[in-house]
Structures are given as structure tokens and as C-alpha cells.
């Protein structure tokens, strides 16, 4: 009787071990960040990208009309070297008309996804079109040295993606962060001055859809912000 009892206890103890190995009852949440003695600010070499006066009669009635690309340069300056990224937000997202933006990528690939496009304003209730903001993969420098463009999505969130070398440089408002790395590396590089050449590519709808009789301003507004990485 006693022997049987002991055997039973042993079996229970072993079952307990198996249970522990199978399932953890808890998960740890870690909240990280680093306070750095530095001050940083972003600046653009021009505050406005203009596609000029576009004669409607020269535009296609039924297809998207490509307005081409314009260049602008983003410079991030810090008083002490630190890692710093940047991201974008669309201030006029309610006017986005998703169109194919030809050769909008840094590699001249097309941009077609609404998640990569920004609103270009409205004519009455009609959305005029869309534009993209692309970081060029050449011309990126940290403290004067040519580097690689890195991108990651949802930086700092649980769903963050790993830093990867960017090939298209296509921005994704409120989602994607860019920064610079030593050429060939995928870890963000600390810098005092980071230079990021951008290109802005726009398209408007066919003129039948626009149905415009008066001069109408293209009215895109994006905010480029520092992204703490």
C-alpha cells in the first residue's frame, strides 16, 4: 500500500514538471528608450515643391496625368552625434485619390499603393490626385560621408520591422522611418548632420473626372518629423 502511494506521488511530481515545460503563465513587457544630451532639428532646402501652372487642355481626359518629379533635400542637424530617423504624416489625407505614380521610387519603380501616397487637395468635392515622397538611395550622407539609406516600419512598436537597406525609398505616412547607416551596414549610424535627398512625384486625375472650370491649386501638405529610433 505504502509503495503504491509513493509511486503515485512520483507520477504527480513528474506531471508537474511536464506542465511547467509546456506553458508559461506570464510574459514580460519591457519599455525601453534612451535619453541623450542633444538637440536635433529637421530642415528642408525649400518649404514648397511647386509643379507650376498646368494647362488643363494639355492633360488627358480619362487617364491619370503624370506631373513628374521635383527634388527637395532634408537635412537633420544635431548638436551632439546621435542616431535619429525621420518619418512623414499626410496633412491632407482626406483628399487622396490613389493613382499610379510613374517612376516615383528611388529606383524609378512605380508607386501604386494608397498606403504610400498623399492627398493633393480637392476641387469642390473631387480629389485632384496624389503624390509620393521618396528618399533617394544615392546622396545620403552622415557628417559628410556617403552612407546607405535604411528603412523600418512601426519603429518601437511591438510590430516593428527590422532595419533594412532601402532600394525604393518609398515613404509610408505615419508608418515608415528612414535613417542612415555606414555603407553595407544595417544599424543606424549616429551623426550630427544627416542629409537625405528626396523626390516628390505627383499625378492628377483625368480632366473629365476633375471637371474643373476655374484655376485650381494643387494643395498637398506633408509634415516631416524626427523619429526617435
Amino acid at each position: 500500500m505504502e509503495r503504491v502511494m509513493r509511486k503515485t506521488l512520483l507520477a504527480v511530481a513528474m506531471a508537474g514538471v511536464a506542465f511547467n515545460a509546456l506553458a508559461a503563465d506570464s510574459a514580460d513587457l519591457t519599455v525601453k528608450g534612451v535619453l541623450v544630451n542633444a538637440a536635433c532639428s529637421p530642415s528642408l532646402d525649400k518649404t514648397e515643391v511647386s509643379f507650376g501652372h498646368i494647362p488643363l487642355s494639355n492633360l488627358d481626359k480619362t487617364n491619370a496625368n503624370q506631373l513628374g518629379s521635383k527634388d527637395v533635400t532634408l537635412t537633420i542637424t544635431c548638436d551632439n552625434a546621435m542616431v535619429m530617423g525621420w518619418t512623414t504624416v499626410d496633412g491632407h489625407t482626406d483628399s487622396l485619390e490613389t493613382l499610379t505614380l510613374s517612376k516615383a521610387g528611388a529606383d524609378d519603380s512605380d508607386v501604386t499603393d494608397a498606403a504610400n501616397e498623399y492627398g493633393l487637395g480637392k476641387a469642390g468635392t473631387v480629389n485632384l490626385g496624389s503624390y509620393s515622397i521618396t528618399a533617394k538611395t544615392t546622396g545620403v550622407t552622415y557628417d559628410g560621408t556617403a552612407g546607405d539609406l535604411l528603412e523600418a516600419d512601426n519603429v518601437g512598436h511591438g510590430s516593428t520591422t527590422a532595419w533594412t537597406k532601402s532600394t525604393k525609398g518609398v515613404s509610408k505616412p505615419a508608418v515608415r522611418t528612414f535613417t542612415a547607416a555606414v555603407s553595407g551596414e544595417t544599424t543606424p549610424k549616429a551623426y550630427k548632420v544627416g542629409v537625405f535627398p528626396l523626390k516628390v512625384t505627383a499625378a492628377v486625375q483625368g480632366t473629365d473626372a476633375l471637371n474643373i472650370t476655374e484655376d485650381t491649386d494643387l494643395d498637398g501638405l506633408a509634415t516631416i518629423s524626427l523619429s526617435y529610433i
Binding site: F19, L22, A23, A24, D25, S26, A27, D28, L29, T30, V31, K32, G33, V34, L35, V36, N37, A38, A39, C40, S41, C78, D79, M82, V83, M84, G85, N154, V155, G156, H157, G158, S159, T160, L226, S227, Y228, I229
Partner: protein
């Protein structure tokens, strides 16, 4: 007639309870042994990262809001059962009880220390700030179906609807009920979208000269119900 009836009921109730004055009261101990267990998991090993923050861009004297980072808690059970969870702050003694803006998914701010977690200390022992963990009750699911977030605080029954999705740093259990119900649902996969929102003190108060880590740590544990 009606009045008399009520009177009669009251009398009998009073008399009965008074007369019985029993020496003992029964405590029932119940539970259900189920074959299975549940495991909580977070994305990215449970890490949220507010990145490298340039102190020169922050307010010297005001509270600095660092915004929110999202996380997702998934509790997976190997057989269907109702299960809740609770969160405990491992750094409670480092909490600086400052307002955390937009801490909850309904847009509410968090001011009470019971809703806030510690973010660590500077090398000089200054408490850096606070963070909160909010649950998006509109997107909680059990086995893929949307349900209502419900909670109860220790020794407070019954379950109540959690409109704000605010967690407490101790003693609050969270689970999911069918839409419009307050009865915990049984299931195998429970999903809770979370956001972690942080605020830190003014840089004059922090007085940091060297790189200083934000150092928050909390543990989420399953509670069998």
C-alpha cells in the same frame, strides 16, 4: 392589502435572521479542473522602444509626452476555457506620478498612480516618468470573434464593462465577454491590442548629463477564472 403583504415579509425576514444567529457560516470552495493551460505572449519579445530621445528637444519644466507604442497580447490555451490576465509593475518604486496624455483608447488621460508604471531612475536617483498600458476594448477578440472587454478588481465582484480599457498595476483582472454580456467567454485564443504611452519629467528635473535608459518592466500573468 399590498402594504400588509410587504409588512409581513419584512417582519418575517427580520425575525428569522435575528432568531437564527448561527455560530457558523459555510464557505463553498469550488473550481474546475481543466485539461490544459494557457500561455500569454507579446510581439517582439514584449519590447516597446521609445528610441533615442534628444533632451534638447524636450521641455525643461513641463511634462514631456512621448506618445504611444502599440503591442499585442495573445493568450493561447490548449483547450477551450475562460481565462483572464493581470499586469504587475516590476519597477513601481521608480514611478514619477505625472499625467500621461491620451493613455486610453477612448482618448482619456491617466493621472492616478494606480494606472501608471515606473520608467526607471537616473543615475542620481531621479524618477524619470511614467507609462500606462491601455487595452483597445473595441478590438479584443476570442477565437477571432469580437467581444467586450470586462474587468474586475481584486475582491470586487461582479465583472464590469471596461469602457476605457485602463489597466491597473496590481489587482485588476481583464478578460472578454460576448457583446453585451458580462460573462467571461471560454476560448482558445484571446487577443488584446494594447498601447503603451509614456511621459517623462522636465529636463531640469531629470538633470541628465550622460545617456540614460528608460527602464520599464511589467509582467503580464494569466489568471484562471
Amino acid at each position: 392589502m399590498f402594504k400588509k403583504l410587504i409588512l409581513a415579509t419584512l417582519c418575517s425576514a427580520t425575525v428569522m435572521s435575528g432568531a437564527q444567529a448561527a455560530d457558523s457560516v459555510d464557505l463553498k470552495v469550488t473550481g474546475t479542473l481543466v485539461n490544459g493551460a494557457c500561455t500569454p505572449s507579446l510581439e517582439n519579445g514584449g519590447v516597446v522602444d521609445f528610441g533615442h530621445i534628444p533632451l534638447g528637444n524636450l521641455s525643461k519644466t513641463g511634462i514631456n509626452q512621448l506618445g504611444s507604442k502599440t503591442q499585442t497580447l495573445t493568450i493561447t490555451c490548449d483547450s477551450e476555457m475562460p481565462v483572464a490576465w493581470a499586469i504587475v509593475d516590476n519597477k513601481k518604486d521608480t514611478l514619477a506620478n505625472i499625467e500621461v496624455d491620451n493613455a486610453w483608447f477612448n482618448g482619456g488621460n491617466a493621472t492616478a498612480s494606480g494606472n501608471q508604471f515606473g520608467l526607471g531612475e537616473t543615475s542620481a536617483g531621479v524618477k524619470i516618468g511614467a507609462y500606462t498600458v491601455g487595452i483597445d476594448g473595441s478590438k479584443t477578440t476570442v477565437d477571432g470573434a469580437n467581444g467586450d472587454l470586462i474587468r474586475h478588481d481584486t475582491n470586487q465582484e461582479p465583472w464590469v464593462n471596461s469602457d476605457s480599457g485602463a489597466t491597473q498595476t496590481f489587482g485588476r483582472n481583464e478578460t472578454i465577454a460576448a457583446k453585451g454580456s458580462l460573462e467571461p467567454l471560454a476560448g482558445k485564443v484571446f487577443v488584446y491590442p494594447l498601447k503603451v504611452t509614456a511621459a517623462i519629467q522636465g529636463t531640469d528635473t531629470l538633470a541628465v548629463t550622460d545617456d540614460t535608459q528608460l527602464d520599464g518592466s511589467a509582467t503580464i500573468s494569466v489568471v484562471y477564472i
